[in-house]
């Protein structure tokens, strides 16, 4: 990292701090109704209080768990199904029109159906999150597998590799940038769906917490929850970015 980049980063942090300060001044002078906009100090205190005397950590963990398990199931199923569809032109001809139709369907629209089938349970949440996060992973995998250099497949055939070996040694590494991009998108979807499911089904978690805070006009608690969700979104983006950098090291090296 060079010097000017570092200086800009510091300047950028100062700008962000300045904006928080403006937020504080606006809230202190009651330029906006404090019911809607508590100052950052009150939001921060609510956050600290939630963690020390409340059970915000339990709620945070519940949301993270829902998101993670749903995403994991979606990723495994999505890569497996995507590998099957992506390596077989016949399966692709039969299935891809249906997948194209299902792709733009808002995943949240399946929540009422899932509630009718599975009730207001954790299984319902898991099903919805996994179903919603499946699409980005599945479609990215199919795309990645069909975009593999055809000559690599020819090499595999010439070497007499089995289908599993072709997938494991040729297609999967070649498609991994697409798959990781799909998993990144899937993680965002998983977080959103976990929160929505909590809001609708009333499962204990951050989603219920911020909705209850809004309904009882506890604005500082609400903002604390939103800040926490923002941090969670940021942390997951950073985590998958690190994973990507680690798994795709060969890609930057070969360039």
């Amino acid at each position: 990292m060079n010097r000017s980049r570092f200086l800009w980063l510091i300047a950028s942090f100062v700008t962000a701090a300045g904006l928080v300060w403006i937020w504080q001044v606006v809230a202190d002078n009651r330029l906006v109704n404090p019911v809607f906009l508590p100052g950052p100090d009150r939001a921060w205190m609510a956050l600290v209080r939630g963690f020390t005397t409340g059970d915000l950590d339990v709620k945070l963990l519940a949301t993270v768990e829902r998101m993670f398990w749903g995403w994991l199931v979606a990723s495994l199923v999505g890569v497996a199904l995507g590998a099957a569809i992506g390596t077989s032109p016949r399966l692709r001809a039969y299935l891809s029109p249906m997948l194209e139709f299902l792709r733009p369907l808002p995943a949240s629209a399946t929540i009422p159906v899932a509630i009718a089938l599975l009730g207001l349970s954790d299984g319902m949440v898991l099903a919805v999150v996994a179903f919603g996060a499946l699409w980005p992973v599945l479609l990215a995998t199919v795309h990645g597998f069909s975009a593999v250099e055809p000559r690599l497949y020819e090499v595999g055939r010439a070497l007499g590799l089995s289908r599993a070996a072709v997938i494991g040694k040729i297609a999967l590494p070649s498609a991994s940038p697409d798959i990781l991009a799909g998993m990144r998108l899937g993680l965002t979807v998983a977080l959103i769906l976990s929160v929505v499911c909590e809001m609708i089904a009333g499962r204990d978690g951050l989603g219920t917490w911020i909705l209850l805070a809004a309904r009882s006009f506890r604005a500082p608690d609400l903002y604390a929850g939103v800040i926490l969700l923002g941090l969670l979104g940021y942390a997951t983006a950073v985590a998958i970015g690190l994973l990507e950098a680690r798994l795709l090291v060969w890609r930057s090296r070969s360039r």
Binding site: Y94, L95, R103, P104, A109, P112, I192, L211, V226, L229
Partner: protein
Amino acid sequence: MNSSWWKGLVVPAALIATAEVAMRINGSTSMSLAAPSDIAAALAAALLDGSMLAATRDTLISAGAGLAIGGLLGLALGILFGLVRPVDHLMEVTVEVIRPVPSVAVLPIALLVFGFGYTMEIAIVAFSCLWPVMIYTRSAMAGIEPRLMEVARALRLSPWARISKIVFPAALPRILVAFRLAAAIALVVAVTVEIAINPLGLGYGILVAQQGLQPALMLAYLVWIGIVGWSLNTLLSLAQQRLLGRAARVEVAR
């Protein structure tokens, strides 16, 4: 591909037929599932009495208005950040902190400020459309041929003329791609907000059908939401190709 388009219909047709037969054999008294023929009947009935069309209108109005507001804001910010590098550098941390906030997290804030109704839904849709448009526009600015900017400087164009005559046309293909993505997001967010809390539109329709134990109507809504989403996507792709012709294909190929 043209000679085998029917292959795409085989699997859905088989699934529908299986569901139909299974429901008929078991006798459909389920509160969560319905036979495909019952779903089709419920869909036709809801379309004919106008309730589903009214709900579609509500959802599309909210999604469209949110897309327009969020998209224009994102466009303006993207042009500003893309052309004035210092501003981009200064706002980096702020943008990176706000952007990953999930759209549903701002939902309770919008509820608190606007109450139920169109306004709160439009605000949330606008928030979620702003970011993709902004980021695509910003990178489109970076992709403009530098010599075009030199020409603008040589001609001493005013900043406004520079944006409207050079920057905007040069970046238009990528900006349209951004708006197409944002339109898909807008529909998803609008339906999500309706299902979560807002008593309006298609999302509310499907929730009410579920709570009223009308599985056929609920699944009819699900199918209809799928049709609306698919049509919107297809229309926008077609529009993009018509508007840009070869420029759009270049963009996809890249």
